[in-house]
């Protein structure tokens, strides 16, 4: 706080102006990205694009129907595995989670949350693809579920902890067994928050590409079951993007628009519509 007052005021205005500029830059990044994808992708998205299979290079009119369906399949199965594991693990942490075991479980969840997705892919590859000697939708789902678990687990724990202890005690005092209190009283009152966490986890893995390269692998036709390779939207975008064909680049932008809209929709739904008012 030294210097001439006028100079101090000038410094103040300059530095605060710089922070405003930072904020402007940061916030405009999102809109620039969304706008550019919409601009590049919109011209190539059509009903046919969404409902047809890819065609060989040179032919026109190929679509990404198999990738859309494959993504739904792989992400859906990942959620079927990851959400229950995460929620029940979260129940453990919130309701019984004191002592050494709980510490290690929390630590493991934090570690897992920080593991790069490509390393999770390696894990699924070593665990499932190598022993079965085949790329499969299942191995992709397992990889994605490993990414989902820590997200769901920690958000479930946080939201369960927001449920007041008095509610549990009121139910216990009526003679309700504890497991029933947890399942019928505690979990339902935190259900919106838990669903939010699950949806955020889904929106995160829906765009994951790296762990799918050598697990779900990709496919130019419909996937034929969980034990066969399957095409997914993010991986198709990648393969089309690095290809040398202009038509495939155009399709990559279109597929990127589709994926972006899906991820944004799930993400916004989770944040706006489901956010419990009490938690704010």
């Amino acid at each position: 706080m030294s210097g001439h007052p006028a100079r101090r005021k000038r410094t103040n205005a300059l530095m605060l102006g710089l922070t405003a500029l930072c904020a402007l830059l940061s916030a405009s990044a999102l809109f620039a990205i969304l706008g550019y994808i919409a601009w590049k992708g919109a011209s190539a998205v059509s009903w046919a694009f969404l409902t047809r299979l890819p065609v060989p290079v040179g032919e026109t009119g190929g679509g990404i129907a198999n990738s859309v369906l494959g993504s739904l399949e792989v992400v859906g199965l990942a959620a079927l595995i990851g959400v229950p594991v995460g929620v029940l693990g979260g129940v453990y942490l919130a309701e019984y989670g004191r002592g050494r075991l709980a510490f290690w479980v929390r630590y493991a969840a934090d570690v897992l949350n920080g593991v790069p997705s490509i390393v999770v892919g390696l894990f699924a590859y070593a665990l499932i693809v190598l022993p079965m000697k085949r790329f499969s939708a299942l191995s992709g789902s397992v990889a994605l579920s490993v990414i989902m678990v820590p997200v769901v687990l920690r958000s479930t724990e946080d939201f369960l902890r927001l449920v007041p202890g008095t509610i549990r005690e009121a139910a216990l005092a009526l003679g309700v067994p504890r497991w029933k209190v947890t399942l019928r009283v505690v979990l339902p009152s935190a259900s919106r928050g838990i669903l939010t966490g699950a949806l955020l986890a889904v929106s995160r893995v829906a765009g994951e590409t790296a762990p799918l390269i050598f697990t779900a692998f990709g496919n130019t036709f419909w996937g034929r079951g969980l034990l066969e390779p399957v095409a997914t939207l993010p991986l198709t975008i990648y393969n089309y993007a690095i290809s040398p064909y202009d038509d495939w680049h155009r399709q990559a932008w279109a597929a990127a628009l589709v994926l972006m809209l899906f991820v944004l929709a799930v993400n916004l739904a989770a944040r706006l519509w489901l956010r419990p008012r009490a938690a704010n």
């Binding site: 693990g89 902890r161 005690e169 497991w179």
Partner: protein, 323 residues
Amino acid sequence: MTPAAAPERTSSGARGLVPVPGPRERAGDRLFRLIVTGFALLTLATVAALAWQLTRGSLGTWRAFGASFLWGRTWDPVNDVFGALPFLYGTLVTSLIALLIAVPLGVGTAVFLTELAPRRLASAVGFAVELLAAVPSVILGLMGMYLLVPAVRFVEPSLERWLGFLPFFRGAAYGLGLLTAGLILSLMILPYVTAITRDVLATVPRSLKEALYALGATRWEVVRGVSLPYARPGILGAVFLALGRALGETMAVTMVIGNTPRISASLFSPGYSMAAVIANELAEAVSDAHLSALIAIGLTLLGVTIVVNGLARLLIYRLERPR
């Protein structure tokens, strides 16, 4: 409820703590507790299995090369010679570039959001920055390939003209390379830096700031004199967390880094990263030695991110504890 009303086995109250299971636990309760404990253990087991699979899968490489795998400079799958240094170098350099850009930008944004912006604007801008984290990395990579690479190729000659006296800004302008990868990465870690710094700045006690205002300080002087020093450990935590993300980021980097295992001081030159080489080569790795070397890179990456994230957690958690 006070401790007196809840005897030894029951600790409860507003914090949401519940009775500890006692000797008279019912059969149903016991079963339920065992089930959820089992699911919690599954998380623990996953981490153990992950570390075990990667260790087992990379044993061949560690036996053949030992720790010198980490500083070997040759990567030659045809002759089974493997050294990870070019990848370590690329990962480190791109992550540092990303931090150099994202940390000032993120901290500046966070200061604006907490100290300057009206609440509505702050939540709108904060929301936009958080949503940036939801953009899939393959989409950022796509934009990087077709928007950023040409732009960087265009800018590089002028950069060389002005900053060419530094070894970092010399050489042919490919567009694909370490600089471009760092730029894309900075965009990916910006939301983390911003969000955590904002949360940390929000914990600065009003009384401290008001004390300085009462002495006639300007807003900026309060930010510089009180808020930022108070928040420093938390901001450092945010930096480490962002670093952890940047180190392991795969797709966007793979698409713009040039995928050439070369160590060059110039940021214009193409490079390679640990995550990128796994992404590119694993599905096609035919020999066991090649596969093992790639898994060894994965294990190294895992180790590095665990250490970096551990430091981040330490710094951030220390703030959350009441002082």
